[in-house]
Symmetry: C2
Subunit: 138 residues, 2 copies
Amino acid sequence: MFSIGELSKRTKVKVPTIRYYEEMGLLAEAERTSGNQRRYDKEGLERLSFIRHARDLGFSIEAISSLIELQDHPDRSCEAATDIAVSQLADVRAKIKRLKLLEKELTRISKGCDGHGVSEDCYVLASLADHELCEREH
Amino acid sequence: MFSIGELSKRTKVKVPTIRYYEEMGLLAEAERTSGNQRRYDKEGLERLSFIRHARDLGFSIEAISSLIELQDHPDRSCEAATDIAVSQLADVRAKIKRLKLLEKELTRISKGCDGHGVSEDCYVLASLADHELCEREH
DNA sequence: TCTTGAACCTCTAGTCACTAGAGACATTAC
DNA sequence: GTAATGTCTCTAGTGACTAGAGGTTCAAGA
């Protein structure tokens, strides 16, 4: 049994974040010492590692909730789990697509001005003021 | 002179968002009718278009504030403007990089399970539980 | 056993860039 | 004149935390 600070060190999840996850129902309410401090065991560690890994991969708290539901019922179909992963993947791909468009536009805009002039003539400012100067939609 | 609703239509920025920008100091306080409703002119329209375009490109409210500062002082050096654009670009590139790593990992994870089994054997859940199963850092 | 200092507790509020809703007032079209 | 639509301010909610206040508990050393 170890404290929340120890759990934090082992998982690299900050202490207030652990408490937050508990409040959100991702972590079961921890056992307490007589002095009301939380104590964790291996199971708590594993569950928090799961949560952290999923968060690192960009899954929302809500999605993780569903995944944990499934984890707790080993007999259920895992269709929902793959659905969640696939939709997260689609999400990531959509974000990449959009960011690539932004990257192109920002590259173009940044190159348009060397920063040595005055703001009246600045291509960066002109580009922002006038969407027509953009080469494509973003 | 036109109303906030009209401005909203022309710029595709929602009415509460316009009010929010005013509160944040991005838009000057609008003139009012005798009945206290906001009225805008061409200048207001142009400034809001600028803001919207910059937001679309992912600039923060704070960054836009600085850009507007510069716009209002045409004689100043535009170095700060290019700095902001370049740093925004770096930000976008960093995000793309990270998302690409996530994409790879999620693709691998998603492919590992067809969704037809039970959750106990699900590779998606196993992958999330054990970072060691990942091929690279993300 | 006592003391000290670090770690822990709960609670509230702040972050960012909005969005939603309530309840009241203004404008516009007919 | 009336009815419908638009606008006003204000408060609270979103997601996923983070920061801080003010108080309590724990573990280690004297």
